[in-house]
Each structure stands twice: as C-alpha cells, then as structure tokens.
C-alpha cells in the first residue's frame, strides 16, 4: 500500500494511482487560535443536529446581509480537499481530535470518524456568498420549476416527503447552493460576521483574509484556491488600465490598486499572466485555419448562411446540453438531500428504540435516561455503525444484484 505514497499524480485514466497529498502541517497555519476558539464556542452552541443542507438553509442568516452585485471572491484555505476529518480539526485546540502532527501517515489515526464529520457538516453554508450569487441563480430557479415537477412525478417511489422537499427546494432554490469547502470557510465567516464594511467587496473579501492568514506574511507557499468572479475581474481590469495596460502593469501595482483584502500577489500574478495570454495569444490554429479558408472563399451569401446555420445548430445542441446538465444537477442535489433526510429519520427511529430498550431492560433513574448533548453524538456514532448494515440493505432494491456497472 505504500506505493500510493510514492507515485506522482498523472491523472490519466490508466495511470498509476495518485500520491497522498503533502502533510497537513504546511497547509493549516497555526495562527488560527483565536478564531478557532471562537468557532469552538459556536460549535458548542449549535446543538448537534442533522446535516444542514444548502437547501434547507437558515433564511434568517441570509436576510440581513446586504445583497450586492459584487460577488465575493472565494478563497478556500485548503487547496487540498481532505475528507480526512481529523485534519480539519487541527486548528481547534479545544477539541479532543488528534492533532495535526499525528495526522498524515499513521493509519490508526486515519480511521473513519463519523463524529467529527457530523460537526463539519453542521456548519451552515456561508450565506455571504450565496447572497451575492442569488440574483443569478434566481433566474434559473423559476425556469426549472416546471421541469422539476415532471421529474418529481417520475420519482414517486420516494416517500411522500418528496413533494414537500420539492416545495422547499424550489423556494430556497434561489438561495445559495454555493458553499465553500466546509473546513475553513465557515471559520472565517463566523469570525468576521460582526464587522460591517461600507463597501461590499472588502466585506466579502474579509473572508479570504482569514482563510489565508499567512498570505500577507509569506510568499504564498500555501496555494489558496481562489475563485475569480466577473466583478473581481472587473476591478482587476480597471487597475490594469490605470497602470497603463496589461504589458505595463505589474502584479504589485495591480494588487495595491485593487485594494482587495486577502488577495495575494501570487493570485494577481497568475491572473495577470492569464489575462495577457487571452489578449495577445494568436488565434488558435483551428480558428486560423478556418478563417483562412473563409477569407479565400468569396464570402457569398450562401457560404455565410451555411456557416450561420451550422453555428445555430451548434448553439442549439449546446443549449440543450446545458439545460439537461442543470436539471441533472438539481436532481442529484435533491437525491442527496432526500438520502440525508431518510438517514436522519432512520437514526431518530433507532435512537428511540435504543432508548426504549434501555429503559425497559434496566431500572435507570429518569435523569440518567435523558441523553445529554455530549452523549448524543456518541450515541449517534454507535447507531451509525450499527445501523450501517441495515441501511445498506435498505438502499438496495432486491432484484438489482449485479456486480457490474
């Protein structure tokens, strides 16, 4: 199994298996103590409840935030997706999770931890981002409602809650589905939530500041994953133009002009590079070939019509594909939500059975029977394992027992 550690990521279908990402110590700066403490308190105050979904979101959170046209730039701390949950707790000194240094190679530590998972998933999605995007997503939502009802009919083997979910998801559809990777972003958000900034950009980019706290300090060994939005790009272009154009502008200058907190020179540099390429790159060989052909032919009406027709068809196909993709994605989200819901129901059911058994078999004083907040998660842990086998069999339809897909 050690081979996994040594091979490079090639990524092609028949390639050898990729390496395990570099140790977490580099990735998670140790400077998050104050923030992590804050978060720790937040954790405790939130009862461990079933997974919060993007759809069934706390509308209350979204309300007060100013909606604006400027989208936030997301910077996620982890360029590395780690489902290895213990690591995401490295910054929480208060918890009893294994510390950062223990994480990487020890197989015992890497055992599946449902409990921390539960907590990670408890984070409400970052409302700030969603809010900014909502105006765009709104447009989509109303279009999709009709189509969705079609699918809901087809999926009537799901229980009656489907209809309710449908209603829920449609109305909350406009709410952000976008959320940062759960590990770091909520951290940053909860810390900066109290702050109000007059200009939205700096507000939204506060997040990024916290998410990559070392950005100003070091020369970015941490490659924070930044998502450029059109609005952010707009500011970039403005800054570049002010500095005399993409050739003249320097990353440092642009960074200064943009005044976006959390943006690093590294980000600007790579973006500038891309920008320059986009502007001055000679047209792709394919296009060039076609254009030469076009220009040698006399552009009579017939040719133009043909080309236009071909383009129209192409556009049609693409539009169709996109539409289908959107529908598919929504369905996938709904399926998962349904699954979560069922899981929760199942666990609740198990819990009450467990409770009943306990009270029946032993003579326990009443106060001990009540499951405290702390025990709750541990119990769930148990039930999770116990219920696992049952859940698996529940998910399978009896006749579908082939080994292949």
């Amino acid at each position: 199994m050690n081979q996994f550690h040594n091979q490079r990521i090639t990524g092609s279908v028949s390639s050898p298996l990729p390496i395990i990402p570099s140790p977490i110590e580099e990735r998670y700066p140790k400077t998050l103590d104050s923030q992590s403490f804050f978060l720790e308190r937040e954790l405790r105050s939130n009862p461990v409840n079933p997974v919060q979904t993007p759809f069934v979101s706390n509308n209350g959170i979204f309300g007060p935030l100013p909606s604006s046209d400027l989208d936030a730039a997301y910077i996620s701390e982890s360029s590395n997706f780690n489902a290895s949950y213990p690591s995401s707790y490295s910054s929480y000194p208060g918890t009893d999770q294994p510390s950062v240094s223990n994480y990487p190679k020890e197989s015992t530590e890497l055992a599946w931890h449902p409990e921390p998972l539960q907590r990670v998933l408890d984070y409400p999605d970052n409302p700030n981002f969603g809010n900014n995007l909502s105006h765009g997503v709104n447009v989509m939502a109303s279009d999709e409602i009709n189509k969705q009802s079609e699918w809901s009919d087809l999926m009537d083997f799901m229980n009656g809650n489907w209809g309710e979910l449908q209603g829920d998801t449609n109305t909350t559809e406009s709410k952000p589905e976008v959320a940062l990777p759960a590990d770091q972003a909520p951290t940053s958000f909860s810390v900066h939530h109290p702050q109000t900034h007059p200009s939205v950009p700096s507000n939204s980019n506060d997040l990024s500041a916290v998410a990559s706290p070392s950005s100003s300090a070091t020369a970015a060994p941490i490659k924070a994953r930044m998502r450029w939005t059109p609005e952010l790009h707009e500011r970039f272009v403005e800054a570049v133009n002010q500095l005399g154009g993409s050739e003249k502008a320097t990353p440092k200058g642009v960074l200064k002009l943009m005044k976006v907190e959390g943006l690093t020179i590294y980000h600007v540099k790579s973006h500038l590079q891309k920008y320059r390429t986009a502007r001055y790159k000679p047209e792709s060989s394919e296009e060039q070939r076609v254009i030469q052909v076009e220009e040698t032919k006399s552009l009579d009406l017939k040719t133009v019509t043909e080309i236009n027709e071909a383009l129209r068809v192409q556009m049609e196909v693409q539009k169709q594909l996109h539409e289908q993709l959107e529908i598919q994605r929504k369905l996938q989200l709904q399926i998962e939500e349904q699954g979560r819901y069922l899981q929760m129901m199942f666990e609740n059911q198990n819990k009450s059975i467990h409770k009943l058994k306990e009270s029946a078999s032993l003579e326990i004083p009443i106060d001990r029977m009540e499951i405290s907040e702390k025990d709750h998660s541990e119990t769930e842990n148990h039930l999770h394992d116990k219920g696992a086998a049952e859940e698996v069999s529940k998910n399978k339809m009896p006749k579908n027992d082939d080994g292949k897909i």
Partner: protein, 259 residues
C-alpha cells in the same frame, strides 16, 4: 460496464487538454474490487478516501482554473464585440461589407464556441460527480460501509461541483448572442430536410472538437439515463428530452482522432 465505457468515450471526444483531468474511474473500480469484502480494513478505507481526495483536488484545480479563464475570456469577448460594433456603427469608420461580414461571422463563431466550452466544463463537473457517486456506491456495496452518504455531502460543496458561476456565464453568453445576432434565435429554415442536411454537414465538417464534444456529451447523457440496471433510490430518472430527433441526426461517425 456502462458508465465506465461512456466515460471513456466522453474522454476520447473531449478537448485534448482535458483528457487527463477526468475521474480515474477504472482505477478506482479496480481498487474497490481488491478491497476484501469480508474484512474491510480501516487502512483500505483510508487509502480509498485518500485517492478520492486527490481526484477531487484534481477536479477542483482544473475547474477553478478553467473558470478563471472563462471569466477573463468573456470580458474580452464583450470588449471585442463592443469594439466591432463601434467600428461598424454610425460613429466609426465604415469598412467594406465583406469585412463587416467576416468580422461578425468570426465573432459569432467565437461566441458559440465559447459558449460550448463553458457548457463542456459544466458537463465535466457533472460527469465526474456522477462517477464519484457511482464509485462510492460500489464501495458501500462491496464493504458494507456507509461511506457514500457523508462523503458525497462534502463533494457537493466542492468548487468543481458548484457550477453556478459558469452557468451564469453561459446564460449571459446566450443573451450576448441574442442581442448581437437577433435573427439567429429565430427558427432558421422552415424546411426540415434542409435543416437536417445542414446539421449533418455541420457535423461532418466539425473539426470543431467543441461541437463534437457537446454532441457526444448529450448522447452520453441520454444513454446513461436511459435505464440503469441498478436503478435505485439514488438513481436519476431517464431523460425525457423532446429534441431527440435533433440528436439522432447528429450521431457522430466514428471518432476522428483529434490532435
């Protein structure tokens, strides 16, 4: 074998730079098979998770980078359109008709291709997600674990799956198309046969890997959705697309190696 084959076919048709960015479905499937069904060790599970993690990293990195480029390109496209319409507008100098036509056609082509590339990125995201979901299902089935549900939760929040921005750009692109070429939206020729012929010639002439890829993607989606052998509560229903005739006429000949 269905998904694996479809994925492979999709990858063949895809833009060359994208080829190694897709899910290593086959490899993961092999791994799952190797994992002992009777004694699934926590080691094996963590290895599996690690692999999935790195796959997801791969997706994220690629996706975010593409997204960034699209953001830049879209702005550039807008600028160019503005420039061209100004030049040929009342205020600017008025070069010949031919040049106008050339320029406009070029722009039209660019918009359509740009649109296509973005849609393909969304497709990329989706197909990888589907693959992940499937492989997780296989894992659960094999080992009796319950890895799938919680793991997929996290996947749902990954950058590569949150395609809202790209979808928005796609829509904006369509609007751009409509506003610059208002007649383009109209139904085109009333003659159905002629339209089909156009479509066929378009495909035949389509060195346009974008177009081919889009068609392939649509076809793949159709096939994937048309009844699965393990239809369960986590499966998607079949596609009910009314435009399947268009699709039929666009069936690709055997793939021409695109280099």
């Amino acid at each position: 074998m269905k998904f694996g084959k479809r994925l492979k076919k999709q990858i063949e048709e895809t833009l060359p730079e994208w080829r190694d960015k897709f899910l290593s479905y086959k490899d993961l499937k092999k791994l799952v098979r190797l994992i002992s069904a009777t004694h699934p060790s926590p080691d094996a599970e963590s290895e599996f998770i690690c692999l999935l993690d790195s796959e997801i990293d791969k997706f994220n990195a690629f996706f975010v980078e593409q997204e960034e480029e699209f953001v830049i390109r879209k702005k550039e496209l807008q600028e160019r359109i503005k420039m061209v319409t100004e030049i040929f507008g009342p205020a600017g100098s008025r070069p010949s008709e031919a040049e106008y036509t050339t320029a406009m056609t070029r722009i039209r082509k660019e918009i359509v291709n740009f649109h296509g590339e973005m849609v393909l990125l969304v497709n990329y995201s989706n197909i990888n997600y589907t693959g992940l979901a499937k492989i997780l299902k296989k894992y659960d089935k094999r080992t009796g674990a319950v890895l799938r549900l919680p793991f997929i939760e996290k996947v749902l929040q990954q950058p590569f799956f949150t395609t809202e921005l790209i979808s928005r750009l796609v829509k904006e692109c369509e609007d751009m198309m409509d506003s610059v070429f208002p007649s383009a939206a109209a139904g085109g020729t009333a003659d159905q046969a002629a339209e089909m012929r156009e479509a066929e010639s378009a495909v035949a002439a389509a060195e346009q890997s974008i177009f081919r890829n889009a068609v392939a993607a649509l076809v793949t989606m159709h096939e994937l959705r048309n009844g699965s052998s393990t239809y369960g509560q986590f499966s998607l229903p079949p596609l009910g697309s009314p435009d399947s005739d268009l699709l039929q006429s666009l069936q690709l000949p055997s793939p021409i190696p695109i280099q």
